[in-house]
């Protein structure tokens, strides 16, 4: 597939009267890493949640790998099978072991054999560097470990695109780096990623392009070298000065 991984054109969304997304248009190329930042309530999480239909957009088009996202269950299923998602609150299944968390999707949704699913699960647990936690429950792990399990759970579905919705915001400071390291490794391996985050060091290292959102619209986009050194809009400059010099 040579077209863009994600294409959003003129996407609008309202929560009741509240206009959360205003004419969002963006393109994410295959293998590209995009970091979205902006003040809270700016709609950045909603953008990500629209891409795999956790929220429905009302106007405009969203395409993932050329498939248009519509109300049809088939298009939603097709797109979700290409898109992995990592949440701020991890959302691991607390009643299952780590291994079972990783195997549930592949076995039940993809019909993979248990042995094959387990091999895959152990492979990705290795990759997020916690193979020894396979038989524990999520509640027995630290926040950083839980988030790495959540990343491995997404990878077990072998998605083409990974979405991250503030993956380090719920973590204690000393655990942020272990999660970012895993994400950096993923980026190096060529995964297409859309990351909502306030971790600007990570963004500088990894992002191919930056997006700044405010009040439901995309205010500024650009490659990180220019974005950080010479932001054009006042709103973006103000936001960056607030989060970089605190």
């Amino acid at each position: 597939m040579t077209g863009p991984a994600i294409e959003m054109a003129g996407v609008n969304k309202w929560f009741g009267d509240f206009h959360v997304l205003r004419d969002i248009s963006l393109t994410v190329g295959q293998g590209e890493k995009v970091v979205i930042c902006g003040p809270s309530g700016s709609g950045k999480s909603t953008v990500v949640r629209c891409i795999n239909r956790l929220e429905a957009h009302q106007t405009g088009t969203i395409r993932v790998d050329g498939i248009e996202l519509t109300d049809s269950a088939a298009s939603i299923r097709a797109i979700r099978s290409e898109v992995g998602m990592v949440f701020q609150q991890f959302n691991l299944f607390p009643h299952l072991t780590v291994l079972e968390n990783l195997m549930l999707g592949p076995v039940k949704a993809r019909g993979l054999g248990r042995r094959e699913a387990e091999a895959r699960a152990r492979h990705y647990l290795d990759r997020v560097r916690i193979p020894e936690q396979a038989d524990k429950r999520p509640g027995q792990l630290s926040g950083g470990q839980q988030q790495r399990v959540a990343i491995a759970r997404s990878l077990c579905m072998e998605p083409k695109v990974m979405l991250f919705d503030e993956p380090t915001s719920a973590l204690d400071p000393e655990m942020i780096s272990e999660v970012l390291e895993v994400m950096t490794g993923l980026a190096r391996d060529g995964m297409t990623m859309v990351v909502v985050t306030h971790e600007m060091g990570f963004a500088r290292r990894v992002a191919d392009s930056m997006i700044f959102m405010d009040a439901g619209e995309i205010v500024e986009t650009g490659p990180p070298e220019i974005f950080f050194s010479a932001p054009r809009s006042d709103r973006c400059r103000k936001f960056l000065s607030q989060i970089l010099h605190h």
Binding site: N52, L54, R77, R80, S81, V83, G84, M85, F87, Q89, N91, L92, F93, P94, H95, L104, G105, K108, A109, R110, K136, R137, G139, Q140, A150, R153, S154, C156, M157
Partner: protein
């Protein structure tokens, strides 16, 4: 602003006088005195009627206890149907679409508002006529009449229990299940219900105890269960006090057995969940 007399500080009569003026306050001590006094003297109690040491008393006790099987069976089948039916009613009630939610709400509000006894009469005497007019010949005996009534009546409550239990599971769980490709039924089956069941179990057990007690109503349509047996024995022996006391004890034993079982089950599932 009108004040309740008891909350008026200017008017505090002596406590005994206040108590005497309220007859409801005497209910418990008086009934206790009657009960204990009755036990102490042999004039008002005639335990011979259910004394297992005498042949006649033993026959009577066996007769009374023989209703236990029917009470347990009817309650268990009704509870099983209600637990299943309640889930079927609850799930559409959780939909985001109000037109899917509506039938579930109507069912719950409607069924919940019907008293058990009228419903029992309707099912036992009325439903066969309805079925017949539809060309279905399904004779409803007291056994199935009781089960149908108890199950339907209880399902409105179990549906509400399911709804509360499922709603208490964080939304992120559903979203995570969707992102790993699970459909609605798989999400419920593997993610939501296993977590919700732990919170649902105690109120569900309450409902089962409620069913056991309500099954006593089935005696009026001729079901041969505990209460019916007691009624029949009272008619021949004229010893309502002793016989109904034993009846109450029979229900007590039954309910305590259920409570113990549920306590054990809760502990088992609770420890399973920890960690």
């Amino acid at each position: 602003m009108p004040q309740h007399p008891r909350s008026d500080p200017r008017e505090i009569p002596d406590p005994a006088g206040g108590r005497a003026r309220n007859p409801r306050r005497l209910l418990l001590p008086v009934s206790l005195c009657l009960l204990l006094g009755g036990c102490a003297s042999n004039t008002s109690w005639g335990w011979y009627v259910i004394n297992p040491m005498t042949p006649n008393g033993w026959t009577n006790v066996k007769f009374l206890i023989s209703g236990m099987g029917a009470t347990i069976l009817v309650s268990a089948i009704a509870a099983a149907i209600s637990i299943f039916l309640g889930l079927i009613v609850a799930l559409p009630g959780l939909s985001a679409n109000r037109w899917i939610r509506l039938p579930s709400r109507i069912y719950v509000e409607f069924v919940r508002s019907i008293p058990l006894l009228p419903m029992l009469f309707w099912v036992f005497y009325g439903l066969p006529i309805v079925l017949k007019s539809m060309g279905i010949s399904f004779p409803i005996d007291p056994f199935w009449g009781a089960i149908i009534t108890l199950a339907i009546s209880d399902s409105a409550f179990t549906a509400e229990i399911y709804r509360a239990g499922i709603q208490s599971i964080a939304r992120g769980q559903t979203e995570a299940a969707q992102t790993v490709g699970l459909n609605y039924i798989q999400t419920m089956r593997y993610v939501i219900l296993p977590q919700a069941i732990r919170r649902i179990l105690p109120p569900l057990a309450n409902q089962f105890i409620y069913i056991v007690k309500m099954s006593a109503f089935a005696s009026v349509i001729g079901m041969q269960e505990l209460t019916r047996r007691a009624n029949e024995l009272v008619v021949t022996e004229y010893r309502p006090l002793e016989i109904y006391t034993l009846l109450i004890l029979e229900y007590l034993v039954l309910v305590l057995a259920i409570s113990t079982f549920v306590r054990w089950l809760e502990r088992k599932m609770g420890s399973d969940e920890r960690g």
